[in-house]
Symmetry: C2
Subunit: 447 residues, 2 copies
Amino acid sequence: MMTDASPPAAQGVLLTDLYQLTMVTAYQELGMDREAVFEFFVRRLPVQRGFLVAAGLQQVVEYLEGLHFADDEIQWLESTGRFSAAALGRLARLRFTGDVDAMAEGTAFFANEPVLRVTAPLPQAQLVESRIVNLLNFQTMVASKAARCRIAAGTRRLVDFGMRRAHGAEAALHAARACYLAGFDATATVAAGRAFGMPLSGTMAHSFVQAHADEATAFRHFARVHPRGLTLLIDTYDTLRAARLVVELHREGMRVEAVRLDSGDVGALARDVRAILDAGGCGDIRIVASGNMDEFEIARLLAGGAPIDVFGVGTQLDVSADAPSLDCVYKLQEYEGQPRRKRSAGKATWPGRKQVLREFDEEGRIRSDLIVPVGVDGAGRPLLVPVMRGGCRVGALPDLERSRDLARRELASIPVTCTRIADPEPLTAGISPQLRQLAERVDRDFP
Amino acid sequence: MMTDASPPAAQGVLLTDLYQLTMVTAYQELGMDREAVFEFFVRRLPVQRGFLVAAGLQQVVEYLEGLHFADDEIQWLESTGRFSAAALGRLARLRFTGDVDAMAEGTAFFANEPVLRVTAPLPQAQLVESRIVNLLNFQTMVASKAARCRIAAGTRRLVDFGMRRAHGAEAALHAARACYLAGFDATATVAAGRAFGMPLSGTMAHSFVQAHADEATAFRHFARVHPRGLTLLIDTYDTLRAARLVVELHREGMRVEAVRLDSGDVGALARDVRAILDAGGCGDIRIVASGNMDEFEIARLLAGGAPIDVFGVGTQLDVSADAPSLDCVYKLQEYEGQPRRKRSAGKATWPGRKQVLREFDEEGRIRSDLIVPVGVDGAGRPLLVPVMRGGCRVGALPDLERSRDLARRELASIPVTCTRIADPEPLTAGISPQLRQLAERVDRDFP
């Protein structure tokens, strides 16, 4: 099922903030091209998140591999009058030749833990900041919310319905990918099926019913053309009347796989529809619920015993409505071998290149995470692994199915205080004594 | 400044929900290709919005003009095994040949008002639903929040800094466009400058300061390479110390245009920095504030007298953090000349093709909006105008600058109860008696 096709994303190097170009050209002109280390991390988790799921690394690696200024981009930059001919010449020769270490996609992580580290000549490492944050912020945010939906839904089927209110084309594609990675079963977004080899799923819209003189004709028409996996939308006019119609059509021989509820008191309707279907010999017909679903609503419906088999989760997931951004950053940690640290009020960072060491209890649950300077030995599994060296991949990245398998194992390893739907408590990563000492030393050296 | 270049958006016809393809192929096979009318509208405004600003029409028109299934898309659809050869043949011939009527970009509007109407053979009008909602939802949402920032900021300069946490590439581009349309002055997103001919603006990042041994060297270095419009970021270590350094550098002859504050108590720091600069003979140096800005924070800072000249507004704007989606829909209103209506609980719609008539008071403020069936005469300016006929543009769309001019005039026409930042009260469009009668008739005909 996997394909190599990249999504139709804007991978252009101009998808960046203007200050990256002014800083990069300044570094180049000043000869400041020594090795720099930047790390991407989340400063604080959103209130309703007890863990995050790393996602988007595949797209970051594709972006870095392809990084260059095309002729037309250089010409356009020239037309802005902001850059000298010499500066444009240097930009035209720029490629990414650095190293990347990162958590594998699907890894669960917490605040302040480096998720991705770029080690490269300063101009390169600086230039890529905006797009790296843009890619990792979004997929990680959606994967993390999708993981909570998976936890709330247990073994029930989850389908992404969110394309129409995702923030544009790339968001729709990347949301579909991220939620599949985190445990969804399928998406309705056709282009994501093509781009990522994901399973597709779809039903019918109210307009199909409305375009017909009555529901029975609409259902018969749809069944005639698309008999396979037939899902009928039954809430256009009167849900219970439509459920009884489905029983009739079943008696006539129509093979209905599922009915969908998209409005009203879905929990109560699901029970009534289930009763009508069961009484009518349609015990096999599944119930799909959609309309303003998220992990809270799924948990509430299932706690109330709603007999729902499939949840279509849309807008709330694709925009991560209760946390539509992460407080994530990509910060300079070291330049020319010297650890660096930002001390802005409320935004101070831990200096130097860092690793996360994770320890587990006997049942395989995470016991602790410890953030240490790279090179400091310690117990626990290191979460960041080599991804690129000298601008090239160290090996093949795991494909989406393997990342999805990892995410499933990771979810099982997260402490239940972190995974509960209401008021989760995130784990706090420890800071090793060596890292604290390093921070003190940096503060002395850069008073 | 305007260019014709389209943004690198995914315009592909596969950026849609699977059910659009199953419904369209069903309609085609069933011969249901008579004229259908769909309208896009917002059912309810978000809590913190007293009005919305229409945006995204340009991208919708470009999408409809280019609508077709390319050979590789047909081949991929064939590989899914979901569609017959005959169905794929019909899809391959599909183009958009319909009509579009819409509010001009920049128009202020309210709940239940049709913003865009598509009149086309049913398969075409159905197919385009997902992408039309995707395009209009996002830009309208961002333009509406940007308009509130403009109102809060008065005549102060506003710059979009949101690319890195926008939801992907297209969101970053379209957010930059939408906020410029609604009154922002510039964006930091380079690709948006290229795609839409928008003014660019940029400063420097903390990493630039951190990569140097001290701030003075960092500032001197930056000024040497980019002396024009020099903006120095002064909060990396100690903001007031850095402000005094700026005064020193000014005495040495450095021409500093602005300083930027990005952390801490920005209001208090702005006052202290202003005092240091003024005392040091730097009264011309402007103060830029950024970091978690939105219309509420801008209003709060200015109400407190903070001497801020420029606001950099980022994440909160580009993701419309307090309302990251609109309750917007694209609904079938008529098929084969018969008005249609959805009656799902809480989601009922007004049937038929509709127009909005707007009346103004003597001062040019909106007095009332009335939703009427098309063809019903009434006082007031009709808000929907012809945009496409028979699949082609009726005329050139207004360019971005003209849409921005319209938005500026529109903001001046909105009642102040709608435009206040805290607890705005949206205007409620009236429903004409003829429209109520039509709804009753439809309910009788489709019991």
